[in-house]
């Protein structure tokens, strides 16, 4: 089946003009009813594949972005980068890979208490959000990542995090507490049931 070239042009114009990635529903809403949006996007993606700009999928949405191999050329246009401390980046990674995850679980994995500013910075950057509550005593809040996180880190989905499937398969992403230091008074107070989530 052939695609209407007018529809392709429209989608192209929309995607170029958009300030944020667009989802298929938003694109479809602007195109004529008979437009085959998935086919149009596939067509566009192919036709820009080898160009200086590519059509990319981020957080389940679509956006034109410059080709990654040309980034050296564009240093002047780069957005202001956020400086993240090592603690911040590690915390972000833990939240991304283990979500939904509680604060206590993050601390358990890192082996240190989370200092105040860390979560604040991530929240401010728009990369993390409260997700729900754990069904354990105290019903602690769980955290997860946002769509903005996926867009910034160039991911279509959380499953696309590097090494996610392998880590998951080898049990490295279990949030179950190790129970290691329970025998030692003072260290074993992070005990909580690894019960299921209501998210």
């Amino acid at each position: 089946m052939s695609i209407n070239p007018d529809h392709v042009r429209m989608a192209e114009a929309l995607l170029f003009a958009a300030k944020e990635p667009l989802d298929e529903i938003s694109i479809a809403a602007r195109l004529p009813d008979d437009a085959d949006v998935p086919a149009i996007l596939e067509h566009l993606q192919k036709s820009y594949e080898h160009k200086g700009i590519n059509l990319s999928r981020l957080a389940g949405k679509w956006a034109f972005l410059t080709a990654p191999d040309l980034s050296w050329l564009l240093s002047d246009e780069r957005e202001q980068e956020r400086k993240l401390s090592r603690a911040g980046l590690e915390t972000l990674a833990i939240i991304a890979y283990h979500q939904p995850v509680t604060r206590a679980e993050i601390e358990e994995i890192r082996g240190v208490g989370l200092s105040r500013g860390v979560m604040d910075v991530l929240f401010d950057a728009g990369w993390i959000r409260p997700r729900g509550r754990r069904r354990t005593p105290g019903r602690p809040v769980t955290y997860g990542t946002t769509e903005e996180f996926l867009i910034h880190f160039g991911l279509d989905d959380v499953r696309d995090l590097p090494g996610f499937d392998e880590m998951k398969a080898s049990g490295l992403l279990n949030t179950e507490p190790s129970g290691l230091f329970d025998d030692i008074p003072g260290l074993g107070d992070t005990t909580h049931d690894p019960e299921e989530e209501e998210d």
């Binding site: 170029f16 300030k19 602007r30 990654p68 400086k83 890979y97 090494g163």
Partner: protein, 270 residues
């Protein structure tokens, strides 16, 4: 080709960070760069250069204990959790060295060692993941969006733009204000608000199509003079608002005379 440093403060370069240089014989004790005992253990474990799951925990425990011992000898300030870890590792070491108890309570030394190795492995995995994340292809750094987008408004389901963070903060700020002890309480009950008057007028509007004194619209359960005056003022203001909205007409035949109102809708019916 690309400059992958990016997001770090200069003093916390990810690559450069983990293992301070140590000689083979004496550990150069420096607690500054570490974030807690697990961090030190991981750094020490990396020196064994094997998969963390196959690591010699006994050796690791000894290294850590030596590290702490050295720090104490140098009279460095050591946080309590480093010492607790040292105590725990000493306990683990003894469990590992002693012959297996017949039916000891709690996990065996071997089990504890395995769990510790796994915990280190988890932390290492997250370290690696964090590094990969930041060295990945970042939007805004490695792949740029269009520099001057004309702008297409994403069609949203709601017409108001409000994030969860804003909502939470609004509540928190409000709670903070509320948290002040002995807040001032306004005597609100006695006042008949303009909003209340508006609501009342609107409800009664259709029922009084003919010219009627505005005072007829006053609530009838008012007792004290203050309430009555408040109601009069509010009702007058509310009537002006409704006139402005074209819902009502208002007239006063003489100065200080009674103010009369009627529904504006009536006129259209005629």
């Amino acid at each position: 080709m690309t400059d992958k440093k990016g997001l770090f403060d200069n003093n916390t370069e990810f690559e450069a960070d983990p293992a301070p240089v140590r000689s083979e014989y004496a550990l150069v004790v420096d607690l500054e760069g570490y974030e807690g005992p697990l961090d030190i253990l991981l750094a020490l474990a990396r020196d064994q250069k094997v998969d963390l799951l196959k690591i010699s925990i006994l050796q690791l425990a000894e290294q850590y204990l030596a590290f702490i011992e050295e720090a104490r000898r140098l009279r460095l300030e050591i946080a309590a959790d480093y010492l607790v870890m040292a105590a725990w590792l000493a306990f683990l070491k003894s469990k590992l060295l002693l012959p297996q108890e017949e039916e000891g309570e709690g996990p065996s030394g071997q089990e504890m060692a395995e769990r510790l190795a796994f915990q280190l492995k988890k932390l290492e995995a997250m370290r690696g993941a964090a590094e990969k994340l930041i060295n990945g292809t970042l939007t805004g750094r490695d792949r740029l969006r269009r520099g001057r987008p004309e702008g297409v408004k994403v069609i949203r389901h709601s017409r108001y733009d409000c994030s969860l963070r804003e909502l939470l903060q609004a509540y928190a700020q409000h709670q903070e204000r509320k948290g002040i002890r002995n807040p001032i309480r306004l005597m609100r009950e006695a006042v008949f608000t303009v909003e209340a008057a508006l609501e009342r007028l609107e409800n009664m509007l259709g029922k009084l199509p003919e010219w009627a004194d505005l005072s007829a619209y006053l609530p009838d359960n008012l007792k004290d003079p203050f309430s009555i005056r408040s109601a009069q003022a509010s009702t007058l203001l509310a009537s002006l608002q409704l006139v402005k909205e074209g819902q009502m007409e208002l007239r006063q035949s003489q100065t200080f005379g009674p103010i009369q109102v009627r529904s504006a809708a009536r006129k259209e019916d005629e």
